[in-house]
């Protein structure tokens, strides 16, 4: 857009409530910036029956200049007023014809707030139910394929599975261990404040060990896996969906669930208990550090843990991790395969994978709590 020169305008009343607007100079983005509010304000005040543009003095016109004239015409048409342009150079007139946008087509008016709210609520409920339905369906589908693999193990892509296990498992050991260490340390410090009042600091070891084995270890590890690998699964499969690689698999007769989802599921289920063990171990180390600072010898601390926590606590926690791993991988893969075609679709899928994964983990943990209560674990 040309960014130089100036333009001027004069308002002159005409008989019968009209006005003549004499434009001179260069109507470009620079000059129109100043003219636009002035013209629109004048127009609103005067409400002329007719606007006659005298454009004999217009030397050049760019898109901004044309936009001003088109806007004046539209305003007059809205107010049932007249509009005409006189004296515009032929070449500029030709250009205006080419760019004439006509009447602005307003976006279709939507329903009112109440209807929209009810509609939105209904849609959200429908999406929740359908989402739950598809998650359960998809997990069932994967388990059927898993049974097929148990019968014929060669059908699983083992090389891919180990590679995914390395990315989701081995590469996550550092963060899982760090989180475990910090949680153990913080939990021990926080509970020691209360325990000290009763001279019962030694029971901090019981509290931390049981919490880590039964709840915190599996949950924290599952949250890390969901945010680290669940999102990655959704993004990988989503990108493949956008690039039509999933369609290519289908047309080649390769089952995308077996080819893409199963290795991720096996890898996630395989690494989850191991990662959780790391998390628990470093949590206990963190707690041990606090206990040592209270003056308890390491042997006393270890003996206290052995008395407080049973193998049932440990294995009860590890059984959960298998289910959590399956949920994370299943939901991540499902969200990836549900990816749409818009540019933000892959990001949306990754977000939904993490959110759905975390919700599913917490729900499953609640179910485990009830089941373990009745089983006396």
């Amino acid at each position: 857009m040309a960014r130089s020169d100036t333009a001027s305008l004069d308002w002159e009343p005409l008989d019968g409530g009209g006005v003549r607007l004499t434009l001179k100079g260069t109507l470009n983005a620079d000059s129109v910036e100043g003219l636009w509010p002035q013209v629109m304000r004048n127009l609103a005040e005067r409400k002329p029956s007719v606007i006659e543009i005298d454009a004999k003095g217009v030397e050049s016109l760019d898109a901004a200049g044309m936009a001003l004239l088109f806007e004046l015409r539209a305003a007059q048409e809205d107010g049932k007023g007249g509009f005409r342009i006189r004296g515009l150079r032929d070449d500029l007139g030709e250009m205006m014809k080419l760019f004439d946008p006509g009447r602005p087509s307003a976006p279709a008016r939507g329903p009112g707030l109440l209807i929209r709210s009810v509609n939105g609520l209904g849609q959200a409920a429908h999406e929740f139910v359908m989402g739950f339905h598809s998650q359960v369906g998809f997990l069932g589908e994967i388990f059927v394929r898993l049974l097929g693999v148990l019968i014929r193990p060669s059908r699983l892509r083992w090389a891919d599975t180990f590679l995914i296990a390395e990315k989701a498992g081995a590469n996550a050991v550092g963060i899982v261990a760090l989180m475990g260490f910090l949680i153990g340390l913080i939990l021990a410090f926080q509970s020691a404040i209360a325990m000290r009042k009763f001279g019962a600091e030694i029971y901090v070891a019981d509290l931390v060990a049981i919490s880590l084995f039964r709840e915190l270890g599996p949950l924290i590890t599952a949250f890390i896996l969901a945010s680290r690998s669940g999102s990655a699964f959704a993004a990988e499969l989503g990108t493949m969906k956008v690039n039509e690689e999933v369609d290519a698999l289908v047309t080649m007769g390769v089952d995308p669930v077996r080819f893409l989802a199963l290795p991720r599921m096996v890898a996630a289920v395989g690494v989850m208990p191991l990662l959780t063990l790391f998390n628990m171990l470093f949590g206990l180390i963190g707690c041990g550090l606090v206990m040592r600072s209270f003056g308890y010898p390491v042997t006393t601390y270890v003996e206290e843990i052995q008395q407080a926590a049973s193998l049932g606590d440990l294995f009860g926690g590890l059984v959960k991790t298998v289910v959590f791993g399956a949920l994370i991988a299943g939901i991540g893969c499902l969200r990836g395969l549900q990816t749409g075609n818009s540019p933000s679709a892959v990001g949306d899928s990754a977000t939904r994978a993490v959110v759905s994964g975390i919700v599913a983990i917490v729900l499953a943990d609640g179910v485990f709590a009830v089941v373990y209560y009745y089983l006396g674990i």
Partner: protein, 256 residues
């Protein structure tokens, strides 16, 4: 398709490549104001790379690229920004921002380069949409458009600032023949009425003969321009067997 003789783009002794790997060397040519200029060549010969250097996305190894009086290779930040206000680029897949309507896509450029009121920007956006024949699609999202409509919308956005030069990367690639022909007609119409200079990267033969005033042809093996001139002349009178093969759409160079 008329063109004045004044060059608006001058490329001199240009060598481009990545990581010491030379793709094109000693490339020199001029684009005249108002003409439709096509850059041709087989796949992988460096057409799009050359275009990306001409719009300043990449720095060449050596040489200079003068675009409307500014050397884009050595330009300062301010000079480069001023130049960006005088050129428009439409990418192969449109590169429209998926989270915005078409009007918002165009207004984004206007917001960056002008201080016009919002109403003025929207009117300008609608004007540009009308020119490319999408006046009813202004409030639609890019994902709701067909491939041809997306390319038209990309051209509308490229023209947001009334540019002197518009660069198009493979405008007709992947379009059906009718849509491709309509797009070619649009380019010719815009060149004729608005005197915009078009630099187009393409290898679509029907488009080349419809829109191009002049072309240059690049070659992957020789890494430079192997032919330049009017497309009809190159097709009918070139001595280079590869050029004849390209224009006559032959799979081998032996047949004439």
């Amino acid at each position: 398709m008329t063109a004045s003789n004044a060059p608006i783009i001058q490329v001199r002794d240009l060598t481009v490549g990545y990581d010491h790997h030379v793709i094109l060397q000693n490339v020199a040519f001029e684009v005249r104001a108002g003409e439709v200029f096509c850059i041709l060549g087989g796949s992988g010969c460096g057409k799009s790379t050359l275009l990306k250097h001409m719009i300043g996305l990449h720095q060449p190894m050596t040489g200079s690229i003068l675009v409307d009086g500014t050397d884009i290779v050595t330009a300062t930040g301010e000079e480069r920004r001023a130049l960006l206000g005088r050129i428009g680029v439409a990418y192969q897949n449109g590169a429209l921002f998926g989270s915005m309507t078409l009007i918002e896509n165009i207004c984004l450029v206007l917001e960056e380069f002008t201080s016009l009121p919002r109403g003025a920007m929207e009117t300008i956006a609608r004007m540009k949409m009308k020119v490319v024949g999408l006046q009813e699609a202004g409030h639609r999202m890019p994902s709701e458009l067909s491939g041809g409509m997306r390319k038209r919308a990309a051209i509308a956005r490229a023209m947001a600032l009334d540019p002197k030069i518009v660069f198009l990367d493979e405008p007709s690639a992947g379009l059906d023949p009718i849509t491709a022909a309509q797009l070619d007609d649009l380019i010719v119409e815009l060149s004729r009425t608005l005197k915009i200079t078009f630099v187009i990267v393409t290898h679509e033969l029907p488009s080349i003969f419809t829109v191009a005033d002049r072309v240059i042809m690049l070659d992957k093996e020789r890494k430079t321009i192997i032919a330049a001139g009017r497309p009809q002349d190159l097709r009918d009178r070139s001595d280079d067997p590869w050029v004849r093969q390209f224009f006559n759409r032959q799979s081998s160079g032996e047949a004439v």
